[in-house]
Amino acid sequence: MSADFQLAEGSLDALFAAMTAAGRRIVGPRASDGRVEIGEVRSAGELARDGRHSVASAKVAAFPRVEKILSYRAEGRELAVEDPALPARPTVLFGLTPCEARGFGALSAILNWGTPDRFFNARLEQTTVVAIACTRSDEACFCTAVGGGPDHPGGSDLLLHPLTGGGYEVEVLTEKGRALVALAADRFQPPEGTARTAPAQVEAGFQMAEVTAKLPRRFDEPIWTEQSLRCLGCGACAYVCPTCACFDIQDEADARGGVRLRCWDSCAFRIFTLHASGHNPREKQGERWRQRLYHKFSYMPERLGVLGCVGCGKCSRACPVDMDLKEHLTEIAKGS
């Protein structure tokens, strides 16, 4: 277990102050009205600690809900097209769960496949991820089944491990992490070897290898209809998911000019694959559900070498009709 520093609980405020003074925007899970939401956090006290699973994902820092990608103005007979200034606001995502941190890897794989997505890349470049290892999990979690874990370092620039007596051991994983430490260097002490709080027990529930092996054979089975009978076809799961990156392009314009926006889209919507001709290759909800699973657990590993899931459980928690992904995957793994 490597540790580079120790950070006292009481030092968090000073760290926040140092980050703010250095012009960083701090975003993290915070308690709001009985829910945990990702939002701007001004002090360590605002951070949600236990039960840190925010409803929606911190992916908004690099993949916002609505993003302007160009604007234009009619000037006489000419069109003046403007690229938006690429974001220059450095952000620290503080207090994320390790599963959320891993999500950026999958997003990056999708959004750099073929043509690099300069909007996403620019935002991610400006983002430092500070995750805190989980000491608690709930029944929706299954990070361990998908190559993650409650204290997995993937995707983090700094990983904080809670200590039994309070405070954290700090793992510095990247240059960005190192740069963040340097902002409040005097607060980061040498590690004292204090015991870490045991990481959360997360029962995998199923073998991912079984799912990946079985999926190619099961394309035409009735299981997809069965599993999706109650699915409402809303976008909740896709929108809260740390690895979902499907988007729609919307032009909002009039004769004088307009903007081109990128906004979130969900494969669960019926019109997601509706052709202009009226034909829909995924007319049935079962076909859309199947596509969602295949995309995340078959096509992405095959094409991009990364799973489209970090086992955070946000989709299951957000789903109005309890489409429990862990349960569905277990069922798929069990079948022949």
């Binding site: 009205d33 009985g34 829910r35 939401e37 409803v55 929606a56 809900r65 609505v66 029944e139 209809t225 999706s228 009978l229 109650r230 409402l232 076809g233 809303c234 976008g235 909740a236 896709a238 929108y239 809260v240 729609d248 919307q250 909002e252 926006l261 906004c263 979130w264 969900s266 919507f269 019926r270 019109i271 049935k284 909800q285 079962g286 957000a318 789903c319 109005p320 009709v321 309890d322 429990d324 349960e327």
Partner: protein, 267 residues
Amino acid sequence: MDELRDKARELLQAGTVKVVIGHAAPSAGRRRPVFVRTPADAARLVHDEGCWHNLATYLTRPQVRRLGKPAIVASPQVLRAMLQLGAERQLAEDEAVALAVGNASSIRVLPTLSAVEEHLATVPDELGAAERAELERLSALPPAERRAFWEEQLGRCLKCYACRASCPMCYCERCTMDCNRPQWVPVASHALGNLEYHLVRAMHLAGRCVQCGTCGKACPVGIPVHLLTLFAEGTVRRHFGQRGGASARPEYALSTFRPDDKETFIR
């Protein structure tokens, strides 16, 4: 609960219905819609206060329709939704068998919309105390505070459409939101897009809403969107005496009128 399961089992065994739409409890805190196809499976059915989904939304879904004639575990709000669907020609008179559950512990089997309407005449149609209190509280706020409340709430909307998808009355295969020529309501979940969407939805439900509150409970980020539809429905009820889910005969407030409709604001 036993009576519900027995009735469901009977109907399936007799072949009267091919599926019973109800709720199951996969774990203590969770309730989910379930589609029981075999008599043995009827043991999974539960019904309690945790079962908030308006199951009538499944009566218009192609995947569920393909399963065959359904029975549906029906709270009063499900029953009202069935009547409204009947009024709007989305549900035929004997297309679904309602297993009416309510305050009384016994289950009533209602095989037709007429039976549903007759039964509902004995069930008061009132807004819950909590919803009434919240509507009153918001209405009493100074306008600037009310605006701030809705701006903050609707600003969190993701445009996931869980509200629309969970609503039994939002069955349009081509929702106005999905129409892009013209794109009348913005797709993007920016402030304007969110406000316009929710106002359109509330207006499209005014006079049709059965006041189940499912939309608000379905919202993954906890926006009380049901307050908007409840408010618009309340306006219709107060002014025109018509309401959603009253009858299987169409009587939609916004496509009817009385020459002496009263208002105080037209100059």
